[in-house]
Symmetry: C2
Subunit: 328 residues, 2 copies
């Protein structure tokens, strides 16, 4: 990767967002201009127009599923982002905190954490609050965070008003501005420090392994790698994303497409569907699998599979191949 | 269907929501007690506990895709809703309006609508506002509605603050309460009448065919129908929903499952995946297809396919068979 400082990397801002943390893990500020954007579409536009050399976009969360805004931008119904492709991925462990103002009158009467004896029961939250939370009348966070902290919210904030905001770091900002102290944010520990807020509870996500996967996008180019001739490296250590539609109303059209990947022993790692945007109840499919497209054209399981896919699918598009970062 | 008035039907409230309209289309108030609920989970709980005989839940929108909250309740990770199954579906055309207070000083300077000469270009909104909208500084709606009106919002409300609320009808209520007149709601025409608001624009959805599909749920029971022996009726006029997981890391596991439906000529009508909730990056699959499970056990394409599916999939669950209502 080029290391001159002029290269800009667009990410979903503001600062202290999880996407910011993901971007910094791959693109150190000493070498890149890290540029916050307001929406995921802004990131696609910055990369398409070459304003940024790379973009970092959230793709899926292990608890909450796919980010449909990102999928719809890859589907690119209006042909605005034809050159965008995926060139890498970043996995980030997401540990949510409840940030706010600890009640002064209560003192620091921290309860134990994690919630011993409860954590192993399915359907109960993993942790208890560190401080009294009775004064909290309103919560702020990004919609994805509610879905990742369902058990904690059901146990401690049932019926409490929730306000959706554009990011978890924005939520922390708003709580810091509220001088009554009666609001709290689901946000990151990094945001607590930046906004001078107390951590009222930590690790409040339902699943300890809660992670978000981000894609690194850039303008499309052929993938050239020195180990392209090594079949075992190609299969195990890369992933590829493709999108396509199928003939509606034909039994087995999707099964025929997936059979191609099976025939070439390409293991699927994710499958998503979104409305095609053209006709109601028609879908575009996103298939991700282990393997890599080779720049030298024919040959290799992925290249052969993509050629066969063209014969049974419609509107097929290769959306990138990149190095697998999931350690299992 | 039983017609005694004591039967309660739970739907996603409040009144004048699209789910309310869908529920009324199938369950007239003269025969049923129509009971609004705050969340989709409340509807599942009401039916599981037999507080309501039926529930009406949103499943997918033709523009915006699946309702992940509903999918996760069917996945039922914590075993709370084991008896819920789908017994019917309702398609409702969704025409969004922009509701607010027309600016008095501007008079009724309605611009033409639909936007002639623009409507055929992809990426442009289908309609123009009926009234001046310069005084609108804040918009309220349900998150799904933003996704269904992207083009109108990009053309006329770029950068304007958006507030997510729990339903489109709640959005209209909040705008009616705001006496400054500077806010507007994306909501239904029915909500304009109930809240004494002006229709500032109508038909603002991106796709004219914008529709939402609702499921009718009830406690599970075998499907007994007089025409169960008629193979052609079974294939064409019913749908079935199943969920399952597959052995992770085995190439072609999902392909093998889908091949079963192809073998039995069962056309897939939707496919969805959600995080399994147990291990990160493992998924539960929801497959919907044309056909119906027969109550008399063996025989019939669907029953045979479900038996074969048990051998290759894990945690397989039949989630219901019902009469297809999509007219093509």
């Amino acid at each position: 990767m080029d290391t001159k400082k002029e290269e800009a990397v667009a990410y979903l801002g503001p600062k202290a967002s999880y996407t910011h943390q993901a971007a910094l893990s791959e693109f150190p500020e000493s070498k890149y201009i890290i540029s916050p954007q307001t929406t995921i579409e802004d990131i696609f536009a910055a990369v398409q127009s070459s304003t940024a050399s790379h973009g970092v976009v959230p793709f899926e969360n292990s608890s909450n599923g796919s980010v449909v805004f990102t999928l719809d931008l890859f589907a690119d119904l209006h042909g605005r982002y034809p050159d965008i492709s995926v060139c890498g991925e970043i996995y980030l462990q997401v540990h949510h905190c409840l940030l706010g103002h600890a009640a002064k009158s209560q003192g620091e009467t921290a309860t134990s954490e994690p919630a011993h004896g409860i954590s192993t029961q399915p359907g109960n939250p993993r942790v208890k609050p560190l401080h009294d939370i009775k004064h909290i009348k309103k919560l702020y966070s990004h919609p994805q965070a509610w879905g990742q902290c369902k058990l904690f919210l059901a146990a401690y904030f049932k019926g409490i008003e929730r306000q959706d905001v554009s990011s978890t770091s924005k939520a922390a900002e708003l709580v810091a501005q509220n001088t009554t102290g009666s609001s709290a944010a689901i946000s990151s520990r990094m945001a607590a420090g930046m906004n001078n807020l107390d951590v009222l509870a930590q690790g409040i996500e339902d699943n300890q392994g809660n992670s978000t996967r981000f894609f690194i996008i850039r303008r499309q180019q052929d993938v050239v790698a020195p180990d392209a001739q090594n079949a075992s490296v190609e299969m195990a250590d890369y992933k590829t994303l493709v999108s396509f539609t199928v003939e509606h109303g034909e039994p087995g059209a999707l099964a025929d497409c997936l059979a191609i990947f099976k025939k070439h022993k390409l293991n699927l790692t994710s499958i998503n569907t979104r409305p095609s945007g053209e006709t109601p109840w028609h879908y575009v499919f996103f298939i991700e699998f282990r393997g890599r497209k080779r720049a030298d054209g024919a040959g290799g399981a992925v290249n052969e599979a993509l050629q066969e896919l063209e014969k049974v699918a419609k509107n097929g598009r290769w959306l990138g191949s990149w190095s697998n970062k999931l350690k299992e």
